[in-house]
């Protein structure tokens, strides 16, 4: 991780005016990304249906398939593999990301497909990533929903970190919980490192972290603050603002439905950070039927319990945006 150049995604105070200039329509909750570490836990399902839910509320939504190398959102939407994809954009054949938008047949919703055949394009270079991020944040839409790939690859983490809402999807299974925590930790340290290095304090953080074995950021913060108050202050700020959102998918029992709250509490107790729990999506055979029919759940069975739960998740997000609007931005 150390030898890779990191995107300067979190800009210092001096860069703030420039960053605002890039944004065409600065507003809250614009970019949502959906990650989760493990594969097959419903990231694409949540991303697709959340995008549809938002578009049905009259918002203009662009769904971005950023699972480079494993893209299949078009299949879930019942579309043929689109002719123009992210590959064209990353390789420069399309100058603007708007040129690779594919209509989905659903009102207010467009897709940026990530169906990429060439292997090297699945791992974009630094400049390509920077261009992608810049284009995504500048898209003329009310919401940009980014479906991330599995794993904790830096490409995945960086997209997760630039979003206004980073959604973590879990299913109530040990492997998914394990990967979920790993994903969160990796994302958090990536972010801290970006911020600290942007201020030229990376060496100090590294020295402190090499000194002892730390379990949680709080312990590192304590050690760092005594030696380097400025670096400590930066880390403290990151502890405050790093607030991913949590969605628990495929809940089958009442106990499963409580896993979300338990995860939030465990994350706070043992890692010292906060998570916002958005809700759970019950396990539903309709989901499987919808996938087999190559139709999104919200189109196939809009009244199924799982489909309705997506609406509740969108409500929660809107509530978070409203709260952030009252008290300044959180993420």
């Amino acid at each position: 991780m150390a030898d890779t150049r990191s995107l300067k995604l979190v800009t210092g105070p001096a860069d703030a005016p420039r960053a605002r200039a890039v944004r065409v329509a600065p507003r809250l909750g614009r970019v949502l990304s959906v990650g989760g570490g493990k594969g097959g836990i419903g990231k694409s399902l949540v991303a697709t249906n959340l995008a549809i839910e938002l578009s049905r509320r009259g918002e203009k939504v662009v769904l971005v398939d950023a699972d480079l190398g494993g893209a299949n959102l078009h299949t879930g939407l019942g579309l043929e593999p689109p002719k123009r994809t992210l590959q064209d954009f990353l390789e420069g054949r399309a100058r603007r990301i708007e040129e690779v938008l594919t209509p989905t047949g659903l009102p207010n919703l467009a897709l940026v497909s990530g169906a990429i055949d060439r292997v090297d394009s699945a791992h974009p270079k630094y400049a390509q990533k920077a261009r992608l991020v810049k284009s995504l944040t500048a898209l003329q839409a009310d919401h940009v929903v980014v479906d991330l790939g599995a794993g904790t690859h830096l490409d995945v983490l960086d997209l997760f970190l630039v979003s206004d809402h980073g959604l973590l999807v879990l299913v109530p299974e040990p492997a998914s919980v394990e990967n979920g925590y790993r994903f969160l930790k990796a994302a958090f340290w990536r972010r801290v490192r970006n911020v600290v290095s942007a201020h030229g304090l990376e060496a100090q953080l590294r020295a402190v972290m090499a000194d002892g074995t730390f379990r949680s950021p709080a312990e590192i913060l304590r050690a760092l603050s005594t030696q380097h108050p400025l670096a400590g202050a930066l880390l403290a700020q990151q502890l405050e603002v790093f607030r991913p959102r949590l969605v628990v998918n495929q809940t089958r029992t009442p106990q499963d439905a409580e896993v979300g709250q338990a995860v939030v509490m465990a994350w706070r107790k043992f890692f010292g950070l906060e998570l916002d729990y958005l809700g759970h999506v019950p396990h539903d055979p309709e989901m499987w039927h919808a996938m087999r029919a190559r139709r999104p759940l919200l189109v196939h069975a809009p009244d199924a319990p799982s489909a309705r739960s997506i609406g509740l998740i969108a409500d929660q997000l809107a509530a978070l945006d409203a709260a952030a609007g009252r008290s300044g931005r959180t993420t």
């Binding site: 299974e173 040990p174 925590y181 896993v259 709250q261 338990a262 509490m265 465990a266 043992f270 890692f271």
Partner: protein
Amino acid sequence: MKPLSEQNLYEILEVPCDAPEDDIVKAWDRVSALCVPGALATYTLMPPDEAALLGRRLEEALTILLDPTERQRYDAQLSPTPAPRRGGSDNASSGEVRPARRRLPPIIPARAMPPVLRPLAALEEPQELVAAAALAEATVSAVEPEPIPLQRVAVVETATESAAPTPTPTSTSTPTVTPTVTEAPPLAATPSALPELVPRAAPIPRPQELVVAEGTRFDGDMLRRAREQRGITLPQLCERTKISRHHVENLEAGRYDKLPAAVYLRGILMALAKELRLDGQKVARSYLELMASARPPPAR
């Protein structure tokens, strides 16, 4: 965010310091679910020593926060200023509040009356009420005693009027004081009645009451007899405590190997004891000790 070892028990449970007992029990259930072996939410997140630490702190929370006297002592340790739950109305400075805190203990049984945890308190309860009523009648016409708010007002008022740090004992220890102020007699009557009662609180068992001697071992048989003496049937008990019937049956029959893990069992025993008006702490401790001696502790 403080490390686990530095958090106080309320922070561990994530409840406010003035949380009622029910909320504490619920919070305890939530948090203890995190350190049960095999808990999903803490998988790979919680190192074993942290889990053990959290388990110990939770034990502590159970013994201290669910015992009114212990909890009060603990609250006093936490902050020298009085806990807000004792009454939101007092705006006296800390110097004046001191006597109020010292005078609080006699009130605690009254506050804890309805869901009695301690058997002694259960036995004292009617006696106290009778005596308090009698005393109130003897002095002035009976006013429905509202010990906590009224007494607080009295303390603060006397303290501010006389501007002395400890004027309360003199004013309250003389219940025969002539009613100069309109409200004084009922105010003085109630608090003075309670402290007097504490010394001669020899438990007079009611006929149907279960006499629990000191050091009684609460095994399954004892719990069953306690239940039968209270005239509660097994289904009634299950209905009220929300404990499943086979757990209660196994508990009463002493089938230790069929019972859930100790962390859960403790909560079950506490709930059971509460319903039977027994001391939850004693029951849980006694039963778990018996269980532990009956079989080697399960490997965790």
